[in-house]
Symmetry: C2
Subunit: 400 residues, 2 copies
Amino acid sequence: MNVCKRLDQLLLQIAEIGCDQTTGGYNRFAYTEADHQLRVFFAQTAEELGLEVGVDAANNQWAWWGDPDREPEHNLVLGSHLDSVPSGGAYDGPLGVLSALSAIAELIDDGFQPRSAVGVANFIDEEGARFGVACLGSRVLTGETSYERLSQLIDYDGIPFVDVVSASGVDPARLGRDDRALSRIGSFVELHIEQGHQLIDLHAPIGLASFIWPHGRWSTTLSGTPNHAGTTRLEERDDPLQRAAHFVLELGELAIARDAIATCGKIVVEPNAVNAIAAKVHLWIDARAEDPDRLAHLETDIVALAERLGGRLVNDSLTPMTVFSASLNQRLGSLLENPPVISTGAGHDAGILASHGIPTAMLFVRNPTGVSHSPAENANREDMAAGVDALIRVIRGLTS
Amino acid sequence: MNVCKRLDQLLLQIAEIGCDQTTGGYNRFAYTEADHQLRVFFAQTAEELGLEVGVDAANNQWAWWGDPDREPEHNLVLGSHLDSVPSGGAYDGPLGVLSALSAIAELIDDGFQPRSAVGVANFIDEEGARFGVACLGSRVLTGETSYERLSQLIDYDGIPFVDVVSASGVDPARLGRDDRALSRIGSFVELHIEQGHQLIDLHAPIGLASFIWPHGRWSTTLSGTPNHAGTTRLEERDDPLQRAAHFVLELGELAIARDAIATCGKIVVEPNAVNAIAAKVHLWIDARAEDPDRLAHLETDIVALAERLGGRLVNDSLTPMTVFSASLNQRLGSLLENPPVISTGAGHDAGILASHGIPTAMLFVRNPTGVSHSPAENANREDMAAGVDALIRVIRGLTS
């Protein structure tokens, strides 16, 4: 079967799951009904191909073609995630999982028999949309996120992580690092839709990743004097939303000055009433830069900005620069006729695995809009076919 | 009994209802458990004084001392409301209701017998915190808000108004203008905590209201291009939160230039995720000015500002200037030894009744912080006593 037709069919099978019909965006958050349906779909699709399906101690799903315990150091794992950000696109995550399944299906049709096992992973909760921690599945798998930390997490409705997991039928106490699952990952190649337009500019359908920018998240709260909106003269106000507006505008200027990226994408106002001057404004900041020094300088700038506006900047997470495997990239480069190598500001499960010493690479597929985390995210059929074809060549090259 | 001691006791009886112990603020929204408890308290307190308690067709509560149907045009109605804004103060609303009950209790103790009936009203949902429409009780009572409009309202959780009302045991279809209840309001005097500090500046414990500023509410939505926060350069973004920040800052400048008041106290960001550039920002605007022309000019300015930033300003409500009864104010002035007369930017049920031709006045009690719609709202015992004493003199003067 034409590789793109197969991928099209798989994408179509999940097109309605978690789809907001008014925006065309996807809401597929960990441990929701949409997530459950996607996991059932993953298991059924893999089983129909004859793969062995299971879950690890982090509740990530695995599908194996061949015996993963025979020569585990030679296993090749593909895959990505099926969850989404709020109102996310159709490709961020699913493209990697479905391209891997399509590539395997094609090779089975061709009668190819890998000498070492090929796995497909569906990492749970990569986006962190529900509990605020990105790449939760790979972080638990590697032991980077402890059970103690998990037991402190609450979701967007204030429900504890452990209660959410229990309600799904999984004992949260069994969640944790899984050495057996880790030992089965000889090398990991995550295919992902590009979240930018370097490949557009380079006129290339696919690319390899060099490294992930260092990345931090911070938050701050600006407090003021709540008061009646109709009776307090503007000169007499201490309105934290005015200061928050300055923060948002100056944050962008600071990032540009450092040739970095900073975003305020989340704001919560209290009490958030039409006729009340705000009492508090909570702001969340995401910042990334191509190197750690630049990010550290930017952080210093943002700390000073928050202080000047009456807030204290709190660091919520800091992810160092992640460099992908040079030797694996070299092998992929020769198998794929040397596609361009690009850096990325986005975090991925591949980054978590790489930082834990697993030989890891990423393959990006061109995104004609350059837009990500949005319904506008897109992929051309030709480029998707190039992605599946690349995975086919990688499997053939690394497992025969 | 000392009038202030009685008022103190009543305030103490409701001090815990709807109180957020961490902020000291009150959350007393229409048709919630807190509201129900306050209504039970109102009915019990009034019945213990021997008053006749009932509800009108708008679900406002009434307590009558004397027969309200004997000479209804001579009836005097006092009262205010018991609901609050989110995290509101203890006095905005309750001070008017409890001062009225305290004044009547004092006069009963004194053996005073009014020649015409005295009523105390507890208007439901004055703040509009739950369904977004301020003074909903008086608006339904006067027929200003139709059943059709009510049936379109939804609360902060998206639950339709009619379902909320049904769940409280009231048939929403019976809600509407109540001519009998209106005919019983010979004149209405609402006592209220001042929401500003004119009385501080004037060194006066109480004041009379001249008029309520004209007042409007608007909203607008700024849309942008949602995108991944980690991979989109700032120069390439169309981030509506940046434009919203400009809106918030320039709104204040426009209001100051027009010598008016404008507030943005409510903002909702979509998707409101730490790692996603905002797709949409919804802003709500409250603006008031001392005269209608000034408010109209300010509205024109804000329409232009929204347009420049890519939004369309929608008017959600417009309340014209409300002038209180000159003859009633003259009588109160002579009964109360001519307290200062001040205008106010805040809307009240008294304003709704006045705009429907009912002789209406307002009495303000000094607020030592000048702060309203906040836990910081306050009242001195001496000033509260002056308020109750004023109501006693008004009842004696107007009903004997």
